[in-house]
């Protein structure tokens, strides 16, 4: 009972930290907006107050920074979640959301639309990326189906998919893109939260929320994978079904997020490890912890990447790597000291 109360307390504390992070992050930027003004703007838009604010500040906060911070939070949540699931399911501490080749597929889809004009403008860059991501994942599933099954098969199929679609992307960029297009695609490939709008927020937040709930129902089964699929099966887990189910969920989640914000690296790789070090191995704890850590982490890294080289924005994926790698190294050293 005490343990459960403590868990609830931690979860509430995490959400409060996340809300405060978003609140503070939107004050940061080339045009400083005070925290009080941010509060007033939010209250106005939520219909809780009618406080006079400057139209310019209102536009900056409500139309630019807030949607951006919320998409950042959704991306951190979703990518962290996919990282946890895939690391446990595939029993590989190096697995991340992109291990299935989804991001490479997305980039291929994006360059086909952006550079070659496939789809004739009917689908945008994001639509192309989403379709490409699903195609790459379909390729992985097919390859797994008709090759050696099991965990190793999935990872190898993911490697093949990643290489294939990366090569296709490079081919299109090399053969057909001019330098402007190349730069645009590169920026997007590294992960970028430029120009997020409220419909991006709606899509990413709702997809991620559903993903978190669905994955929490699989927490027990994921615990059982610790000693491999045979042990999981002997513990009553329907291995083939749960694996397919979780692979599809993580692929859809990753495809959605990549199509909105590009392939933001390191969040999905590093944060699950941090969550495990803090809270142990049980997925009923690790999943919520990763989700909150991921959201807070991304909000701050995004704020930093907007501010540090202002007015030139840094692709947020560069920021996550620059922060994520040292954090990862610290975790490794701590692990060694403890063992």
């Amino acid at each position: 009972m005490i343990r459960r109360a403590k868990g609830t307390l931690l979860a509430v504390a995490g959400l409060v930290v996340l809300a405060l992070s978003v609140g503070v992050a939107v004050t940061l930027g080339p045009a400083d907006v005070s925290l009080v003004n941010v509060r007033d703007i939010l209250l106005n838009h939520l219909g809780l107050a009618q406080i006079p604010v400057r139209a310019a500040e209102d536009a900056i906060v409500w139309q630019e920074r807030l949607p951006r911070a919320l998409v950042a939070a959704a991306c951190g949540t979703g990518l962290g979640l996919c990282g946890v699931i895939l690391q446990s399911l595939l029993r590989n501490p190096l697995a991340d959301p992109f291990v299935l080749g989804v991001s490479s597929g997305a980039s291929t889809g994006a360059v086909l639309v952006g550079v070659l004009g496939v789809g004739g403008g009917a689908i945008g860059l994001s639509g192309g990326a989403f379709v490409g991501a699903l195609l790459a994942f379909g390729f992985v599933l097919l390859l797994t189906r008709y090759s050696a099954s099991g965990t190793a098969g999935v990872i190898l199929a993911g490697v093949a998919s990643t290489q294939l679609f990366s090569a296709l992307t490079s081919l299109v960029v090399f053969a057909f893109a001019d330098s402007d297009e190349t730069r645009g695609v590169m920026f997007w490939l590294l992960g970028s939260l430029e120009g997020m709008r409220w419909d991006d927020v709606g899509l990413s937040v709702s997809v991620v929320a559903v993903g978190v709930l669905v994955c929490l129902t699989a927490a027990r089964s994921l615990d059982a994978f610790a000693f491999g699929e045979d042990v999981a099966a002997s513990l009553g887990v329907n291995v083939a079904r749960i694996r397919l189910f979780l692979l599809v969920v993580t692929a859809l989640l990753t495809a959605t997020l990549v199509s909105i914000a590009g392939a933001i690296g390191f969040v999905g790789l590093v944060l699950p490890h941090a969550a495990r070090l803090l809270l142990g191995q049980r997925h009923s704890r690790v999943i919520p912890a990763t989700v909150v850590l991921g959201a807070v982490f991304m909000v701050w890294v995004d704020a930093g990447s907007r501010v540090v080289f202002a007015p030139t924005p840094l692709p947020v994926g560069v920021g996550t790597a620059l922060v994520g790698v040292p954090v990862f190294m610290l975790l490794l050293l701590r692990r060694r000291a403890r063992a």
Binding site: A226, L235, G236, A339
Partner: protein, 256 residues
């Protein structure tokens, strides 16, 4: 009524790895599966576990075909310990044993008093209570196998399947482990390489060769020099220990 196999056959990669084998263990007994590498011991255990389905014949649990039961239902009655299942995760011994409660829990329910009791009991049974809060990778090989047995006991099974559980263990740990297994109040089916361990700890044995059952019964009756020569291709003599009156298998080297 327990776990039975009725003339099960299983074709794997074009090869018949289990060929018409039947197994009807007496409740509470310890049954040894013997036979050389590739004789189908592990394959038969996979069929008995229900993680693979036979091409013909049936494995039944209390008379119901395993193929028609949910994994969870099977796991509440049948637990398995394989050789050397390992993990990369930093798990506590108690967490490993807790995994055994998986088939007994609902999706969101927390640990019940029932779970806590089963986990404590299982740890006690294998003598690892003092190590409950130790990290998995600090355990020795023998302790890890005992922890796996505790994990299986936490499942509260009626049947325990063990696939060469003594591999890689030193002689003391082999004997400790099999003594523990022998004394468990469950029906145990254990694949073994060591014939003398089989003679010492098994009530019955089933000898397999190329997927087929070639002999079954009490180890003293089944294990003869002829059978060992026939199945394993080695010359052996059986002698009776005058102290315990148990058979012992002595192998003769084939020096030339």
């Amino acid at each position: 009524m327990t776990l039975n196999a009725d003339r099960v056959s299983w074709r794997r990669g074009g090869r018949l790895v289990v060929d018409g084998v039947s197994l009807h263990p007496r409740p509470g007994s310890t049954v040894g599966l013997l036979g050389p590498n590739g004789s189908g011991k592990s394959s038969l255990l996979r069929l008995l576990q229900g993680v693979a389905s036979p091409d013909s014949g049936a494995v039944t649990l209390d008379g119901a075909d395993l193929a028609g039961l949910r994994r969870r239902e099977v796991a509440r009655a049948v637990a398995t310990v394989t050789q050397q299942a390992e993990t990369e995760a930093d798990m506590l011994v108690a967490d490993v044993v807790r995994l055994g409660r998986t088939p007994h829990r609902s999706i969101f329910g927390g640990d019940s008093a029932e779970d806590a009791r089963a986990i404590a009991g299982a740890l006690e049974h294998v003598g690892l209570t003092a190590k409950a809060d130790h990290l998995w990778h600090t355990l020795s090989g023998g302790e890890r196998q005992r922890a796996h047995i505790a994990r299986a006991l936490a499942q509260e099974p009626r049947e325990l399947l063990l696939d060469e559980p003594t591999n890689h263990l030193d002689i003391r740990h082999q004997i400790e482990l099999l003594t523990l297994v022998h004394e468990l109040p469950v029906t145990t089916i254990v694949a073994l390489h060591d014939l003398n361990l089989a003679v010492t700890f098994c009530d019955d044995v089933l000898v397999l060769r190329e997927g087929r059952a070639v002999a079954a019964g009490s180890p003293h009756e089944v294990l003869t020099a002829e059978l060992i020569a026939d199945v394993y291709g080695v010359r052996a003599r059986l002698i009776r220990d005058p102290v315990t009156d148990r058979s012992h298998v002595l192998f003769e080297p084939s020096f030339r």
